[in-house]
């Protein structure tokens, strides 16, 4: 494997960690301290006892750097498992966004029409605003936000990516 090359790739990495104080700081500190990219990072407890959290990190780098990132994550004491979903095969990536659009008259109609096309749900409405909820790939949310901008996009809140492998294969 002498010439791994300088080609960059994106990687969606799932990390199962012990849900203890400071664990997120360790992961984030590792990325900043070693100069790795974080394109997105999400975290939440995922087991019934709340002891295990799942972190999804989207990052990019050369193959050697991505291998390093995984090895560095794996040697953190509270880390149970590191999985490179991008490398391991088909997987789903989703993000949730809450998108506030402010406007009156024609623009409101246009906003609703576009929301319908993107399958965004209205979760809050006033006479001068909507909050849309949408899930999907990051690009879909980007595209929706871009269309809303001239109409009156006021505020966006996004979760960052969560991901899971397709099929019966599990992480634990």
């Amino acid at each position: 494997m002498s010439e791994a090359g300088n080609a960059q790739r994106a990687a969606t990495i799932a990390v199962l960690v012990e849900n203890e104080a400071g664990v997120l700081a360790r992961v984030i500190g590792l990325f900043s301290g070693r100069g790795y990219n974080i394109d997105s990072l999400t975290v939440a407890p995922v087991d019934e006892t709340g002891r295990i959290s799942r972190i999804t990190v989207v990052t990019s780098g050369t193959e050697m750097v991505i291998e390093q990132i995984k090895a560095q994550l794996d040697r953190l004491v509270p880390v149970h498992k590191v999985s490179d979903l991008t490398l391991e095969g088909p997987h789903l990536v989703r993000e949730l966004a809450l998108i506030k659009v402010v406007g009156r008259g024609e623009e409101r109609v246009e906003a609703l029409r576009l929301a319908d096309a993107f399958r965004a749900r209205v979760v809050d409405a006033t006479t001068e605003s909507f909050v849309f909820e949408m899930t999907g790939a990051a690009e879909k949310i980007d595209a929706f936000c871009a269309l809303m901008r001239p109409i009156g996009l006021a505020e966006v809140s996004r979760t960052g990516a969560v991901a899971i492998a397709r099929g019966p294969r599990g992480l634990t």
Binding site: A21, G22, A25, R26, M64, Q68, R75, V77, P78, V79
Partner: protein
């Protein structure tokens, strides 16, 4: 964990304060000595220490020194070193020591005091965010917020410090947790929930490695600190494997002692100040076996010119060390001792013959490189060459035949110690390799001497470095530790001066050691013996006087002021672009602009 301790009953446990639980857990983890410094936040632990005899406390004079002492203790015994410091400034003073232990993979458990839990976050007196500050300075750290977690956390800290790739662990202890009653629990017998490093190598990878090694025409074994970390048995196995194969072997700075320096199969240290033969063997080899070394930049030189034509096998207990700097062909994850045992077994089982004629030709080539005699120097006249001072120190201690441990500070003297002091056994050589911490050597020697009271412990020092933890002379006096400080006094931060000479046009900006103390008087003021030697004719007598003295000594050896440390691979250069000394022929390679930005 000491087998003598039986499980504590819960009733008995509930009568203990948190501080007592901490001490009990330390004892159960085999701690005999703590290096520490008191303060308000840790007074409950000091109170508990006062009321027991199982654990000895060594009062240092600065918390950084406590960590280095624990490192010396750990590196010379293979045990975990233990440190106790107070909150705030106590903890921040320890940080340099922690990073030092992190980079050199030394197992340390450091207890830090903390303000009581209800004051955390309030900018209370002597509060520092110790877990925040030490997160990137440790292998792992803990803040204990509940009394019932206390015993478990201490046990876990020892497990983490010593398993896999060893390193420093901090336990931050709020004062109320130390005072309140806490239950004691024994170390769990079950596996750790998440941290379970792989020690046993994969058989398939071992076979691939043996196949490559058997077919090698120009092999080299490059071993590092990981072999020392793996315990003395690993060094013995390395010896067996090298002799079984007849392969040349070189050690990193951190690996010195894993293979006997005087064995003809040893090429000496490699890297920036390594030998000509070791570096050229690395450059020209066709198969490289790296065992427990991490392809550090001090070793590889310019990466894109590093050992360009070799297949590389890398065995390391930490998967993140593999393919970090140098892509390898056969990665092996495992403990160096287990890997060597597996390689030996597989080598014996393998039916293939070695290419003996090729190996003989390779040795002839190596012997040609050796004939350069790259460590030759000329000792003429009165002025003492620093190399000569180390060489004589080595020869005289060898004559004496006492168990000898060497520590160093950081700089040229450190490199000369590595080049001219021959180590025959592991765990006899303590140096700050990764962080390069000036001020490491004296406290480290202190820790070594505590662990080996009857041994000869020498800190080979520079006059600048020694001043960085000179206050520890007080600790030597208090505990009657007969450490010898052997200063190669060139009146310069020699390593800095050398770089300025070679890379910055001889502009010696701020590298002169002005206003030095009188080291003889300084020694005397700390109740030690002071010796000064200025003439080469008196060197041996000075060394003998130092070694014969039963107490601590500072020997201030005035050496040539402008001596450079060679060979040298300048930053950004390749192994085959090494600069040799004035006593060897060989051109001075220029330093490229790219090289200049490197350290």
């Amino acid at each position: 964990m000491s087998a003598a301790m039986k499980p504590a009953s819960t009733e008995a446990a509930l009568t203990m304060s948190g501080a007592e639980v901490v001490l009990r857990a330390l004892k159960d983890n085999g701690v005999e000595v703590i290096f520490g410094y008191p303060g308000g936040a840790v007074l409950p632990i000091y109170d508990a220490i006062f009321q027991q005899n199982a654990i000895r406390h060594i009062l240092v004079r600065h918390e950084q020194a406590a960590v280095h002492a624990a490192e010396g203790y750990a590196r010379s015994t293979g045990k975990v070193g233990c440190v106790l410091v107070t909150s705030g400034p106590g903890a921040t003073n320890a940080v340099t020591g922690l990073v030092d232990a992190l980079l050199d993979s030394i197992p340390i458990v450091c207890l830090t005091g903390q303000v009581p839990t209800h004051l955390i976050g309030n900018d209370a007196f002597q509060e520092a965010d110790t877990t925040g500050i030490t997160r990137p300075a440790t292998k792992h750290n803990y803040l204990v917020k509940k009394s019932e977690d206390l015993a478990r956390v201490v046990h876990e800290a020892f497990y983490v410090a010593k398993s896999g790739r060893p390193g420093p662990v901090v336990i931050d202890l709020p004062k109320d947790i130390l005072i309140n009653k806490a239950p004691y629990t024994d170390a769990p017998k079950t596996e750790h929930r998440s941290y379970r490093p792989q020690t046993e190598p994969d058989a398939e990878q071992i076979h691939k490695a043996v196949a490559l090694l058997k077919a090698a025409k120009k092999p080299v074994i490059y071993s590092g600190g990981g072999v020392i970390n793996a315990g003395p048995e690993a060094s013995r196995l390395l010896n067996d494997f090298v002799h079984m194969t007849g392969f040349p072997v070189t050690n990193t700075l951190m690996g010195l002692g894993a293979f006997p320096a005087e064995d003809p199969l040893f090429l000496g240290m490699l890297g920036m100040h390594g030998t000509y033969e070791a570096n050229l063997a690395m450059h020209g080899c066709d198969v490289m076996l790296n065992i427990g070394a991490r392809f550090d930049d001090r070793v590889t030189g310019r990466l894109n010119a590093f050992s360009p034509d070799s297949k590389k096998i890398h065995a390391d207990i930490d998967p993140s060390s593999i393919n970090k700097n140098v892509p390898v062909d056969v990665p092996i994850v495992g403990d160096a001792g287990r890997v060597l045992a597996a390689l030996i077994a597989a080598w014996k089982a393998d039916g293939e013959a070695q290419d003996k004629p090729a190996l003989a030709a390779w040795w002839r080539q190596i012997d040609e490189w050796r004939a350069k005699d790259c460590l030759r120097y000329r000792q003429e006249g009165k002025i003492i060459k620093p190399q000569h001072a180390v060489k004589r120190l080595y020869e005289i201690t060898k004559e004496l035949g006492r168990e000898t441990f060497i520590t160093t500070e950081v700089g040229q003297h450190q490199m000369w110690a590595a080049q001219y002091f021959g180590f025959q056994k592991p765990n006899r050589w303590m140096t700050s390799g990764g962080l390069g911490t000036m001020g490491y050597g004296l406290p480290s020697a202190m820790g070594v001497q505590i662990a080996h009271p009857d041994a000869l412990v020498i800190d080979i020092a520079g006059e600048a470095s020694i001043l960085m933890n000179i206050q520890e002379m007080g600790t030597l006096a208090q505990y009657r530790l007969p450490v010898k400080v052997f200063i190669l006094n060139n009146e310069y931060m020699g390593m800095v001066r050398q770089w300025q000479e070679l890379l910055h046009g001889g502009r010696y900006s701020e590298s002169y050691s002005a206003a030095l103390p009188d080291f003889v008087k300084l020694a005397e003021s700390f109740h030690a013996k002071g010796i000064r030697v200025t003439d080469a004719a008196d060197l041996d007598a000075g060394i003998r006087e130092m070694l014969a003295h039963p107490g601590p000594v500072i020997a201030d050896i005035a050496v040539a002021k402008d001596e450079n440390c060679f060979p040298m691979i300048p930053s950004g250069a390749a192994h085959n672009e090494m600069i040799l000394g004035p006593d060897q022929e060989g051109g001075v390679a220029g330093v490229t602009d790219e090289g200049k930005v490197l350290v």
